[in-house]
C-alpha cells in the first residue's frame, strides 16, 4: 500500500512515500541514495544489508519499510560524527579488518549493535554475535580483533 513513512535516519527525520511493503534496503539505496548498505543474498542470510533499527541489528533486505515508521534507523553513513570515525570504524580501519569491503558496513553495524547491548563481550560472545554475517575474503580474525579492541577501548558510542 502506498503511504508516507516517517522515520529518523542517521539522526535526521525523513519521509518517503512508497509501497509500505517495499524492503528497507531498496528504500535506503534507491529512494534515499545511501548506497553503503549492500545487497548480498536478498534472503537475510549474509548480513551485508545490516542496519540498526532502534539500536538492534536488522537485515534491511527483509524489513518492510512500513515497519520502521516512527523508529530510528542508522546506516553506515550515520556512524561518523563531525568527520570523526565511530570507534568501531576506527578499529576496523586500524586492524585492516576487511579486504573487498563489501560486507564491511554490515559487519560494523552488527558489531555496533552487539556493543550497545553488551559493551564488554568475551571473544566467544563476539564470535556468536557475528556468526551469521558472511565474509568471503576471510577477514574474520581481524574483524574479531577489531571488535575486541573497540570494546576494550570503550565500546559502541
Amino acid at each position: 500500500m502506498l503511504r508516507t513513512i516517517r522515520f529518523t535516519l542517521n539522526g535526521a527525520p525523513v519521509a518517503v512515500t512508497v509501497d509500505d511493503a517495499r524492503r528497507l534496503l531498496w528504500v535506503l539505496r534507491y529512494d534515499l541514495g545511501l548506497t553503503g548498505t549492500k545487497f548480498g543474498c536478498g534472503e537475510a542470510i549474509c548480513g551485508a544489508c545490516t542496519v540498526l533499527l532502534d539500536d538492534a541489528a536488522v537485515r534491511s533486505c527483509a524489513v518492510p519499510v512500513g515497519e520502521v515508521a516512527g523508529r530510528r534507523v542508522v546506516t553506515i553513513e550515520g556512524l561518523e560524527r563531525d568527520g570523526r570515525l565511530h570507534p568501531l570504524q576506527q578499529a576496523f580501519l586500524a586492524h585492516h579488518a576487511f579486504q573487498c569491503g563489501y560486507c564491511t558496513p554490515g559487519m560494523i553495524l552488527n558489531a555496533v549493535a552487539l556493543l550497545l547491548k553488551k559493551p564488554h563481550p568475551s571473544r566467544a560472545e563476539i564470535v556468536a554475535a557475528m556468526d551469521d554475517n558472511l565474509c568471503r575474503c576471510g577477514a574474520h580474525t581481524r574483524i574479531l580483533d577489531a571488535i575486541e579492541s573497540a570494546a576494550a577501548a570503550g565500546g559502541a558510542r
Binding site: 517495499r22 524492503r23 531498496w26 539505496r29 534507491y30 541514495g33 545511501l34 548506497t35 553503503g36 548498505t37 549492500k38 545487497f39 548480498g40 543474498c41 536478498g42 534472503e43 542470510i45 549474509c46 551485508a48 546506516t75 553506515i76 553513513e77 556512524l79 561518523e80 570515525l85 570504524q89 576506527q90 576496523f92 580501519l93 585492516h96 576487511f98 579486504q99 573487498c100 569491503g101 563489501y102 560486507c103 564491511t104 558496513p105 560494523i108 564470535v127 556468536a128 557475528m130 556468526d131 551469521d132 554475517n133 558472511l134 565474509c135 568471503r136 575474503c137 576471510g138 577477514a139 574474520h140 580474525t141 581481524r142 574483524i143 574479531l144
Partner: protein, 706 residues
C-alpha cells in the same frame, strides 16, 4: 630474472618476453593510449606518462589497468610508485581499471599484479624520477649529479635556494622527456615497499563511501531483470510477458535470446519478472553431483603426459608396497559477496559501462563486439569489486546492461540476484586424480604415476624426488575440452588446478609416510631437494611446534607444502574430529610463505589469513549440488561458506629473501588447505579422506572404513 636492482627496465621487459609470458611492448606509448588505433596485439605502453601524472599540487596520480577487489593492489602499487618516484606514499592517488584513462592491462588474475606488472610500473616511476631530475637540473642550473630527490622535492644538499618541488616543476603537464636505461632501486634502498602500509581503500570502506558498480547512481536509470533458463542447455519454447507489462512503469525488451523486464525500481522489476511466464524445453539430466566423477574420467579423454622420467615398470618392480588412490573434488563456487553488477549508459554513439569485472579491457572488446561498435566508443570503468577470486573474469552482466541501455535509450543497471550468481558462476571444475605410487624396501618413494582429470596441469608435476615418475593430465581448468564435459561453465578459481593437484599429491605423500612408519615432515624432507620448499616446511613446522611422530598419532596434526607462481608455501594444521557427528574443527593453522620481496607484509598476511579461511570452505563444506544443467544451490542457506565460528587461530610466517623478486601472494596460500586438513584428520582418527569437501557424512563414512 631479477626485479630487485641492477637490471634495467628494458632488460627486465626483455626477460619477461623471453620467459614466454604474454607481455608485448610497443614502441609508441602515445599511440597505445588511443584505443581506436590500437593494433590487435596489445601491451603495456612504454611512455611513463601513461601511468603517472604529477599534479601542480604535488600529488601523484597513478593510472593502472589493474582493479581492486580486496587483494590490496591499490596499496601495494602505490608503495612501488612512492619508492621509485621518491614521493610520499600518502601523496599517491590510484586510478584503476578505467579503460579511457588507464593503460591497457590483460586483467587482474594469476597473482600477476606485483610479479609481472610491478616491474613495469616501477620502471615507469624510475624513469619519471630521472626525467624530473634532468628537468630540475636545467631549471636550477645545477648538475643532476649534485641533486637528490626526496618526498617529491628535488634539492641540492646544504643549499636551501637550489630546491624545486615536483609539482612546481611539472605543473600537471605531460613530462616531455625520456631517459633511457634507468635502473630501479636496489631492494636495500626501498623505504616504502617491504614495510606494512596502511590500505589506501580503508577510509572509504569503513565509512560506506566506497563505490561498487551497483552504487553508481545515474539519473533515469532502469533496473533490469532478465528471463533466465531453469537449467543450462534449456531452450526457450515460448514466453508470455503480458502480466509483467501490466505493472505500472514496467518495460519489456526482447532482443533475440535476451528478454528483460525493466523498471525504475529493482524490486518492482523483480516482481515483474516473477509474472513472466516462460516455458523451456528442459533437457533430461544425465549427470549430477554424485555421478559426475565417472563422467569426467570417461569423457575427458586419455591424459596427455606432461612429465616423465625413469621407467614406471622398473619402479613398480622396486616397490615393496603400492598405493593406489583416487582423489575427488566437487565443483566450487566463487561466491563473492557482491554479485556480478553493472550499469551502462549509451549516449551519442558511445557506451560507458561501470562493471564489477576483473578484466575491464577484455570486457571493453566484448561490449564493442556485442554492440557492433568500434572499441574506441566503449569505455569500461571499474569501481571497487566486492570480491573476485577469478569469478569476475567473466562479465556477462555488463554486456547485458550495455545491450539493454542501447535498446531502451536510458541507463540500465543489471545486478545478479544470488540465484543468478550461482547459475552463471564459472565454477572451479570438479576433478579426479588417480594416483599410483610405491615404496621401496628402504621406505623411499620408488615410483609415482599421477593422472589428473579436469583440474588442469598447473603444479600437477611433483617436486618430490622420485626416480621413476609420470604426470599426465586430461581436460583443463577452463573446461574447454571436449564440449559437454561439464554441465555448466567452469573457469579460474583462486589458484586454478593447484588446489586439486596439491590435495592429491600431499595426501598421497602422507599415505606413504604412514605406511613407512615415518613422520610426515621427515618423510617429505627425505624426498625434497628444492631449498625454498625445505625452508618453508621447516619454518611452518618450527612455528607450529611440530614434534616428529608417525601418523595417526591421535594429535590431529597435519602438514602439507606446495609451490605456485614462484611462491613456496607450507602449512601445518591442528584439528579436532568429533567421531559421533563427523564434524571437523580446525583449531589452528600455521602458514609459512616465501614470496621473495614482500612489498606490503601486512597485505601479504591479509592474503594468507583470507586464503586459510576461504580454504576451509572447499576443504570442509563447499560443494555445488546440481542435476544436469540445473544448479540446485541458489543461496547461502545450502551453499555453506566458512563462518566466524569455524575460523582457526591463524599464524602467518613470511620467510622470503627480500633480494629475490616479488612473486604472487594472493593465491598460493590457499592451495594446501585440502591436504593439510585431510592429513590432520587422518592423524586425529585414522580416517583417510579422499573426497573434497570433507563433510561430516564423508568423515563418518571414512571412519567406518578405517
Amino acid at each position: 630474472m631479477s626485479a630487485g636492482g641492477g637490471v634495467s627496465r628494458r632488460d627486465f621487459l626483455a626477460s619477461l618476453g623471453a620467459s614466454g609470458l604474454l607481455v608485448l611492448f610497443r614502441a609508441d606509448g602515445l599511440l597505445a593510449q588511443e584505443p581506436g588505433r590500437l593494433p590487435a596485439r596489445q601491451g603495456y605502453p612504454s611512455d611513463f606518462n601513461a601511468y603517472l601524472h604529477v599534479g601542480a599540487d604535488g600529488r601523484t596520480t597513478c593510472f593502472v589497468g589493474k582493479i581492486e577487489m580486496g587483494q590490496g593492489a591499490m596499496t601495494a602499487l602505490a608503495q612501488l610508485v612512492a619508492d621509485e618516484l621518491d614521493v610520499p606514499f600518502e601523496s599517491v592517488d590510484m586510478v584503476m581499471g578505467d579503460t579511457d584513462r588507464c593503460p591497457w592491462d590483460m586483467g587482474t588474475f594469476g597473482s600477476l599484479t606485483i610479479r609481472q606488472f610491478g616491474p613495469v610500473l616501477r620502471g615507469a616511476a624510475a624513469e619519471a624520477r630521472a626525467a624530473i631530475l634532468e628537468l630540475a637540473s636545467e631549471r636550477l642550473g645545477v648538475p643532476a649529479a649534485q641533486l637528490q630527490t626526496r618526498d617529491g622535492v628535488v634539492s641540492r644538499t646544504g643549499d636551501a635556494a637550489a630546491r624545486v618541488t615536483y609539482g612546481g616543476l611539472v605543473q600537471g603537464k605531460r613530462i616531455e622527456r625520456h631517459v633511457a636505461d634507468i635502473k630501479v632501486k636496489e631492494p636495500a634502498a626501498l623505504r616504502v615497499a617491504g614495510r606494512p602500509a596502511p590500505r589506501k581503500d580503508a577510509r572509504e570502506k569503513v565509512t560506506g563511501r566506497a563505490k561498487y558498480a551497483a552504487d553508481i547512481g545515474l539519473p533515469g536509470v532502469l533496473h533490469a531483470r532478465l528471463v533466465r533458463p531453469p537449467a543450462h542447455g534449456a531452450r526457450l519454447r515460448g514466453v508470455d510477458t503480458s502480466a509483467a507489462e501490466a505493472i505500472d512503469g514496467v518495460r519489456v525488451v526482447r532482443d533475440g535470446e535476451l528478454i528483460a523486464v525493466l523498471h525504475e525500481r529493482p524490486d518492482v522489476a523483480a516482481q515483474a519478472l516473477a509474472r513472466v511466464r516462460a516455458e523451456f524445453d528442459h533437457p533430461a539430466a544425465t549427470v549430477d553431483d554424485a555421478t559426475i566423477f565417472d563422467h569426467l574420467v570417461t569423457t575427458a579423454g586419455e591424459p596427455q603426459v606432461l612429465d616423465a622420467s625413469g621407467d614406471l615398470a622398473a619402479g613398480e618392480k622396486l616397490a615393496r608396497s603400492v598405493f593406489e588412490r583416487t582423489y575427488l573434488n566437487a565443483y566450487v563456487a566463487h561466491a563473492a559477496l557482491e554479485t556480478h553488477s553493472a550499469v551502462a549508459r549509451f549516449a551519442d554513439g558511445r557506451v560507458t559501462v561501470w562493471a564489477s569485472t576483473q578484466t575491464p579491457f577484455g570486457l571493453k572488446s566484448q561490449v564493442a563486439q556485442a554492440l557492433g561498435l568500434e572499441a574506441e566508443r566503449v569505455r569500461v570503468i571499474t569501481p571497487y569489486l566486492g570480491g573476485g577470486f577469478g569469478g569476475k573474469s567473466a562479465s556477462r552482466q555488463a554486456v547485458e546492461a550495455a545491450r539493454l541501455a542501447r535498446l531502451v535509450g536510458r541507463p540500465v543497471q543489471v545486478v545478479f540476484d544470488r540465484a543468478e550468481e550461482f547459475f552463471f558462476d564459472t565454477f572451479r571444475p570438479a576433478a579426479v586424480v588417480k594416483l599410483r605410487s610405491g615404496l621401496d624396501a628402504a621406505g623411499r618413494i620408488a615410483f609415482w604415476d599421477f593422472k589428473v582429470y579436469c583440474a588442469g596441469e598447473r603444479e600437477a608435476t611433483s617436486f618430490y624426488e622420485v626416480p621413476h615418475r609420470r604426470t599426465a593430465s586430461a581436460g583443463g581448468w577452463m573446461g574447454q575440452q571436449p564440449p559437454g564435459l561439464h554441465p555448466f561453465a567452469v573457469g579460474p578459481w583462486r589458484a586454478p588446478s593447484v588446489n586439486t593437484n596439491t590435495f592429491a599429491r600431499e595426501s598421497q605423500i602422507d599415505v606413504m609416510a604412514a605406511a613407512a612408519g615415518a613422520d610426515p615432515l621427515a618423510f617429505r624432507l627425505a624426498h625434497l631437494g628444492n631449498p625454498r620448499i625445505v625452508k618453508v616446511l621447516r619454518a611452518a613446522a618450527q612455528r607450529f611446534g611440530w614434534a616428529p611422530k608417525p601418523a595417526p598419532s591421535g594429535r590431529g596434526f597435519g602438514i602439507a607444502c606446495a609451490a605456485y607462481l614462484g611462491t613456496f608455501v607450507a602449512a601445518c594444521a591442528e584439528v579436532a574430529v568429533d567421531r559421533a557427528s563427523g564434524n571437523v574443527r580446525v583449531e589452528r593453522v600455521v602458514l609459512a610463505q616465501d614470496m621473495g620481496l614482500v612489498v606490503n607484509p601486512d597485505g601479504a598476511r591479509q592474503q594468507i589469513e583470507g586464503s586459510v579461511t576461504m580454504g576451509l570452505g572447499y576443504a570442509l563444506s563447499e560443494e555445488v549440488r546440481f542435476a544436469g544443467g540445473e544448479v540446485l544451490d541458489r543461496n547461502f542457506d545450502t551453499y555453506r561458506l566458512p563462518r566466524f565460528s569455524w575460523v582457526p587461530k591463524i599464524d602467518s610466517v613470511l620467510v622470503g629473501d627480500p633480494a629475490a623478486p616479488p612473486s604472487g601472494g594472493g593465491e598460493p596460500p590457499i592451495v594446501c588447505m585440502g591436504a593439510v586438513i585431510a592429513n590432520a584428520i587422518h592423524d586425529a582418527c585414522g580416517a583417510r579422506l579422499l573426497h573434497l569437501p570433507m563433510t561430516p557424512a564423508r568423515v563418518k563414512a571414512a571412519l567406518a572404513h578405517s
